[in-house]
Structure formats: structure tokens, C-alpha cells
């Protein structure tokens, strides 16, 4: 009986007894969720354009953040370093298209997937060669990101909103919305969707595959840079940031690999779900459950929507 009470009654009693902690948990989940959405978006864009799961998205986060901080350490002013880093992410996109994707056109998807493994290890080695393996401090203040917290009293307790988290949520939301609009409403966006539907059909109507690939890889690079800045400011800039990208996997399972709205909704559901789960049900299971809980949440959703939240239902003749 005790276990049933702890599983089904006590968590809700706690929510009622300390609503400030409940709101704080929701907020922390929302912040994490929006950042997960941002990471997931990087995967979705590339998957939509080329059908490739980009294993290198995580190391792109590290590479972008290291480039930014590394340039600043060498005396480049923060905003100029940001501009140069954006330029380097563009060059990376061009390089990936010319040296990796173009020679592999018409190869099976698994070959392209393996190529992104190669890209990962290249970026790890190249990044370590240029910037070393030492962790670095994110230049959040120099970039004008706020410090401190806004605390307000709530239901006899308090809720603390870190200004950096508010900024991260706003910036990530703007980026996600901008990219969503760009790829849904513009000519390039329509071209991207055409490429996603069929490479051959898109080519036949004059859409340049090369251009689309450069654009989506560049967009994924920008997403990686934003992710690196936000997560780096929360901790440090090191190769450990690569692990953060793995948080996008349950988001993708839940939201679907081809859906931008799915990445957004999936990120928030996973972020909030895992924080609530860890906080209220974690102690019952020995704590430290959020890593696998995210996958459980995604799999439960898949029981009801196997194609993901916003994924397309695929019917194939057999």
C-alpha cells in the first residue's frame, strides 16, 4: 500500500503542498524543453533535406561554441567573434556539401549516415587540434547575455527565474519560430519540402540540391551555435556538450524526424515531462531517472501515434 501511495498520491500531495516548487519545476522543464527543441531542429532540418540522421549535430554544438570562445581568447571582440563563427559555420556547410554530400549522391542513406560519423570524428580531432581539450568559460557577459535572477513570491514560497534562462528561452523561441516560418513560407522553404518529398522530382523542376543542402547545413550550424552559447553559459564550453545533443533523440522519436512543429512540441513535452518525473517520482526509483524517463515518455506517445506527434502517416504497399 505504501508504494501505491508514494506512486499515485504523494506526488500530487507534494504539488499541492508546495505550488512554488511545482511552478519552478515547470519553468525549469520549459527552459530545458525549448533548448531540446532547438537541438532537435538541427536534426530535423538536415533529415528533411537529405534523409540523413546527422550524427555530427552534437559535435557541431561543441565546435561552434569552441570557435566562438577560442576566437575571443585570441583577442577578437565578442560580437566580431560571433560574426566570424557564423561565417565558419557557413564554410563548414559548404565544405560538407562539396566534400561529403556531393560525392555520395545516390548512395544508400546508411552511407550518408556513416559519413556523418566521419564528420563527427574529424570535428573532434580538428577542434582539439585548434582549441585544445581544456574547458573554456562561455563569454556570456561579453555577448550581452544577462546575469542574475528574478525572484518572486508565490504561494508562500518563491520562484526564481534566471535571467540567462529567460534570454535562452526567448532567443531559442525566436530562432525556432524564424526557422519554422522560413522553411514553411518562403520559396526556399518550399524547395526544401520538395526535396524532402523527392530528390528526383525536385531536380526535375530545377531545384538545386546543392543550394538546399548548404542552406540546411548552415541553418543547423546556426542552431548548433545558439545551443552551444546557451548550454555553455549554464556550465562550461567543453567536449561534454556533445552529450547534450543526445537529449534530442527522444524529442525526435516523439515529434517525428521530419516535423518542425513536432520538434518544438516534442522538446517541451520531454523537457517538462522529465523534470516533473525526476522531481516527483525520481526519489521513488532511486533518483537519476530523467535520462531514460525521456525515452519512456516518447515510447508511450508512440504507442498511440507511431508516426510521432506531427509525423506523416506512411502507408506502403507490401
Amino acid at each position: 500500500m505504501d508504494i501505491l501511495y508514494k506512486a499515485f498520491i504523494d506526488p500530487f500531495m507534494q504539488m499541492g503542498a508546495a505550488p512554488d516548487l511545482f511552478v519552478q519545476t515547470l519553468w525549469d522543464g520549459l527552459v530545458a524543453g525549448v533548448l531540446y527543441s532547438l537541438i532537435a531542429l538541427g536534426f530535423v532540418l538536415i533529415f528533411k533535406a537529405s534523409g540523413v540522421f546527422n550524427f555530427a549535430q552534437g559535435i557541431m554544438v561543441v565546435f561552434a561554441a569552441l570557435t566562438l570562445v577560442g576566437l575571443h581568447e585570441k583577442g577578437v571582440p565578442a560580437y566580431l567573434a560571433l560574426a566570424i563563427t557564423i561565417g565558419i559555420m557557413f564554410l563548414l556547410a559548404v565544405g560538407v556539401e562539396k566534400l561529403m554530400l556531393r560525392p555520395l549522391v545516390n548512395q544508400p542513406d546508411i552511407i550518408l549516415f556513416m559519413a556523418t560519423f566521419g564528420l563527427t570524428y574529424f570535428l573532434i580531432g580538428f577542434g582539439e587540434l585548434i582549441f585544445g581539450g581544456d574547458p573554456k568559460v562561455m563569454i556570456a557577459t561579453q555577448l550581452g547575455l544577462p546575469r542574475g535572477a528574478i525572484d518572486f513570491k508565490f504561494a508562500g514560497g518563491f520562484v526564481s527565474l534566471q535571467k540567462i534562462d529567460i534570454a535562452a528561452t526567448i532567443i531559442a523561441s525566436i530562432m525556432v519560430a524564424s526557422l519554422a516560418i522560413f522553411f514553411q513560407k518562403t520559396r526556399i522553404g518550399r524547395a526544401l519540402r520538395a526535396v524532402a518529398d523527392s530528390h528526383k522530382a525536385a531536380l526535375s523542376v530545377g531545384i538545386s540540391l546543392e543550394q538546399i543542402w548548404v542552406i540546411v547545413w548552415f541553418a543547423a550550424g546556426l542552431v548548433a551555435l545558439a545551443t552551444g552559447i546557451m548550454w555553455g553559459a549554464r556550465s562550461e564550453v567543453s567536449f561534454a556538450l556533445e552529450i547534450i545533443a543526445l537529449k534530442a533523440l527522444p524529442v525526435l522519436i516523439l515529434g517525428g524526424f521530419t516535423s518542425i512543429p513536432g520538434a518544438i512540441a516534442g522538446g517541451v513535452i520531454i523537457g517538462v515531462g522529465e523534470k516533473i518525473g525526476e522531481f516527483y517520482w525520481g526519489p521513488l526509483l532511486g533518483s537519476g531517472i530523467e535520462t531514460w524517463l525521456a525515452y519512456v515518455i516518447a515510447l508511450v506517445f508512440l504507442l498511440f501515434r507511431p508516426q510521432g506527434l506531427f509525423g506523416e502517416k506512411i502507408i506502403e504497399r507490401i
Binding site: E236, S238, G282, G288
Partner: protein
């Protein structure tokens, strides 16, 4: 298949085989000291300064003294990335080169090497890490963990907290939290903290941090906000530490009640939080800074000559000096081994005897150019740790300073637990050999 494909395949095969070929000097030319390192990956922030300190000290001995006892030291790194599988690959690579010991620098890698050490006759030096129970020399003759074990560290934390609260009896009813990496290393202090909780009446709260969530600890710190532990002990590593320190500051947890173990006290652990981390404490058993002749010799003979991978401004940082201390223990072990065996070029069997008779007194520290650099330490046949004292280092916002006097571990509680755990290890590992190695007189 075309000729081009054959040639390409052959080239790849040759390239893949290259690392297996002997490179440079062999052990016959000197004393081979492999260093397992992690300059890459999520734990590089801790691994890089440590291996820099280790390598620089040993290279300094080569440059300044021509090695030890007239024999050059062959120092070779093997990158593990703090990954147990890669660590075991490193072990297999170095095993055939007559290493005098291994420095796994990971509890995860140390644990499987404990069983191999006696068979391969290669002692394991796990300086203040690894299996706490291996301090029992009567059961683990090939494993050494001076100057203190994780269990000593956890008991020092309790002892320090007791002193701040007005006595160990005042701990009754208090809440002490452990924030730890959810891995063998992080879990190591749990048994002793549970035992001390029972003895002193405090409540122990556990906050595991999975490796995948090292930089995403908001859940753990929300739990801390709910539970309100009076004191927190942090057993983290790599990127987990700066995140924890930042989260503590973010959640307005009193920084002088957050105490890291000795692997949570790197400069890169506190620096990202900067002034917000002012007051953060970490156990430490070496001093920081460059005001020691031994560090000056490293600068003169190695760093300034461009023979080091260490940026000059990082020489003297906490974990760098930790690496130096580690290599001072290695060097003293080699000197003892040369004396005991009468040989210049020693092997693992000799080194085991050298480590087992290790005595680094205050006078000897002074001779080594390290007066006051660490507490004097000694290892005996029965006690491979020494259970020596540590102190609290305090972050002043920009650097580590000395924050307390030397703190002794609660030996009366720790030693029986070590004895018990050592026996349990032997029972659990069927066929664990009874010690047959003779003890040397000091």
C-alpha cells in the same frame, strides 16, 4: 578488385597496424612509466592538468637529474578518454613494455586492473581514488592508494561539518547530501557515509547525476531545494563539477556549505562560476601555486624549454600540482625499489616493494623541493593508503586558497569498514589469492 583498391587496402592495413609497432625507446633503455591520460572528452577538464603535472615532473627529473639513479624515465601517455574500455586497451598496449606500474586515473579502469595486477606483476597506483578497500595491503599487495581513500575523504567531510556544527554529536537530526556522478567513482563514498549516518544520527540524502546529465542538473538541484540539506558533499568529475557549482550559486545554496571531494577542486571546476562560487570548499592534499622549488625546477627545466604541453599560466593550478604529487610518489617508489633490489632498471615486482616501503617525511619533502607541499605520508605492508590528512581549499572568487588546517580522517570508523570490505571482496571474488609476498623492512 583493381590494383588501386589493393594498394589502398594495403596502405590502410599498414596504417592501422602502426600503433602496435614499438615506437622509440624500449624499456631496456630506461624505466618505463606509462601515464593513462584523458586530454579529450567530457572529463578533459580534470584529466589534462593532472597528466600535465605528472608528465612535467617526471620529465623534469630526466632533464635535471638524468632520470632516477642514473636511469632515464621513459614517459608515455595513453589516451583513455576516461573510458574503461579504452583504458583496458591502453593496459594491453603497455603491458608488454615492462611498465613499473600503471596509473589508471579512473576508478572505472582501476577496478578491473586490481585483479590483473597480481597476475601480470604490475602494481596499480591509484592515488586517492579507486577502491577504498584496496588500502588493505594484506589482501591487495599489488594495489596502492596513498595518501588517502575516498572513505577517508568522506569521513573528513563529516568531521569538518561536525566541527563547524560544534561537535560530531551535534550532527544528530542534520541532513547531509551527497551529489555524485552516477558511476563507480561517484558511488564510492556511499557505504562510509551510510555507516557514519547511522553512528552520528544524521540523515543522508543522495543525489545521483547520470553522466548524460552532467551539464543538465536542474532536477538534482530542485530536489536539493526541496530537501534543504544542511551540508553537501560533491563527488563529481569533469564537466559535472562546474555545473554543480553554478547550480549551487544559482539556487542560492550557501557556498561554504558545499564541499567538493579532492577531484572537485580544479581551477576549471570553480572558474566558470567565478565570484558567485566564492566560499566554495574542496578537500585537498596538495598545495597550490608555484612558490615551491620543485615547481620552479619544472618551469626552468621543462616548461621554459618548450618541453611541456602545459601553458605556463596553468603551472601551479590545483590539479596540476596534484599530478606533480602523484609523480613524486612514483619517483620515490622507484628510488626505494632501486635501493631494495640493488638494480638500476627495475620492474613491476621491484616497484611493488618500493611502493610498499614508501615514506615521504617532512624532511624528505623539503629535500625534494616541496616543503609543506603535502602532508608527510607513509605506506606500510598492511596499510597501502596511510589514511593521511587533507585540508579544505577555499575558492576566493579567482583562485584556491587554504581554508582550514589539516583534517584527519575518522580512522576509528573507516578502518573497520575497510577491513570488512576487503574481506567481502575476497569472498565475492572466488579464488582471490592469499598474500604470498614478503614484507620488506624500511
Amino acid at each position: 578488385m583493381t590494383m588501386k583498391s589493393y594498394l589502398l587496402g594495403a596502405a590502410v592495413a599498414v596504417a592501422a597496424g602502426l600503433p602496435l609497432l614499438p615506437v622509440g625507446a624500449s624499456a631496456a633503455d630506461g624505466i618505463y612509466v606509462p601515464l593513462f591520460s584523458y586530454r579529450t572528452g567530457p572529463f578533459a577538464g580534470s584529466g589534462t592538468p593532472i597528466v600535465n603535472g605528472m608528465a612535467d615532473y617526471l620529465n623534469m627529473l630526466n632533464e635535471r637529474d638524468g632520470g632516477i639513479g642514473g636511469v632515464k624515465l621513459i614517459v608515455e601517455e595513453c589516451e583513455t578518454g576516461y573510458d574503461t574500455k579504452k583504458g583496458l586497451e591502453c593496459y594491453e598496449q603497455v603491458k608488454s613494455k615492462n611498465p613499473v606500474l600503471t596509473n589508471p586515473y579512473s576508478t572505472g579502469i582501476t577496478l578491473p586492473l586490481i585483479g590483473k595486477a597480481a597476475i601480470d606483476k604490475i602494481p596499480v597506483l591509484s592515488m586517492a581514488y579507486g577502491l577504498s578497500a584496496s588500502a588493505d595491503g594484506s589482501n591487495f599487495p599489488w594495489v596502492f592508494n596513498p595518501p588517502a581513500t575516498y572513505w577517508d575523504g568522506a569521513s573528513m567531510f563529516v568531521s569538518y561539518v561536525g566541527k563547524q556544527e560544534g561537535g560530531l554529536d551535534k550532527l544528530k537530526g542534520k541532513k547531509l547530501g551527497l551529489v555524485y556522478l552516477d558511476a563507480p567513482y561517484g558511488k564510492e563514498p556511499i557505504p562510509v557515509l551510510e555507516a557514519l549516518a547511522k553512528d552520528y544520527g544524521f540523515e543522508l540524502k543522495l543525489y545521483p547525476v547520470p553522466a548524460a546529465e552532467m551539464q543538465n542538473q536542474s532536477s538534482q538541484w530542485l530536489n536539493i531545494r526541496r530537501d534543504r540539506p544542511d551540508w553537501i558533499y560533491l563527488q563529481g568529475f569533469g564537466a559535472m563539477n562546474p555545473t554543480a557549482v553554478k547550480e549551487a550559486a544559482k539556487n542560492s545554496y550557501p557556498m561554504d556549505h558545499l564541499i567538493g571531494n579532492w577531484w572537485a577542486g580544479g581551477d576549471d571546476d570553480a572558474r566558470p562560476a567565478g565570484a558567485d562560487a566564492k566560499g566554495y570548499l574542496s578537500l585537498d592534499f596538495n598545495q597550490v601555486g608555484t612558490d615551491f622549488p620543485v615547481i620552479q625546477d619544472i618551469l626552468k627545466h621543462v616548461v621554459d624549454k618548450g618541453k611541456s604541453q602545459t601553458p605556463k599560466e596553468k603551472v601551479g593550478e590545483n590539479l596540476y600540482n596534484r599530478g606533480v604529487l602523484n609523480s613524486m610518489i612514483i619517483a620515490e617508489g622507484i628510488r626505494n625499489a632501486q635501493k631494495l633490489s640493488g638494480k638500476k632498471v627495475i620492474d613491476g615486482t621491484d616497484m611493488r616493494r618500493g611502493l610498499e616501503t614508501l615514506v615521504i617525511s617532512a624532511a624528505r619533502l623539503k629535500e625534494m623541493g616541496a616543503d609543506g607541499f603535502a602532508a608527510p605520508m607513509a605506506v606500510t605492508c598492511a596499510d597501502h593508503s596511510g589514511h593521511n590528512a587533507a585540508y579544505m581549499a577555499k575558492w576566493d572568487g579567482t583562485k584556491w586558497t587554504k581554508g582550514s588546517d589539516w583534517i584527519e580522517p575518522i580512522k576509528a570508523k573507516v578502518m573497520p569498514l575497510i577491513d570488512e570490505a576487503s574481506k567481502a571482496y575476497a569472498t565475492a571474488n572466488a579464488g582471490w589469492p592469499k598474500r604470498s609476498e614478503a614484507c620488506d623492512a624500511k
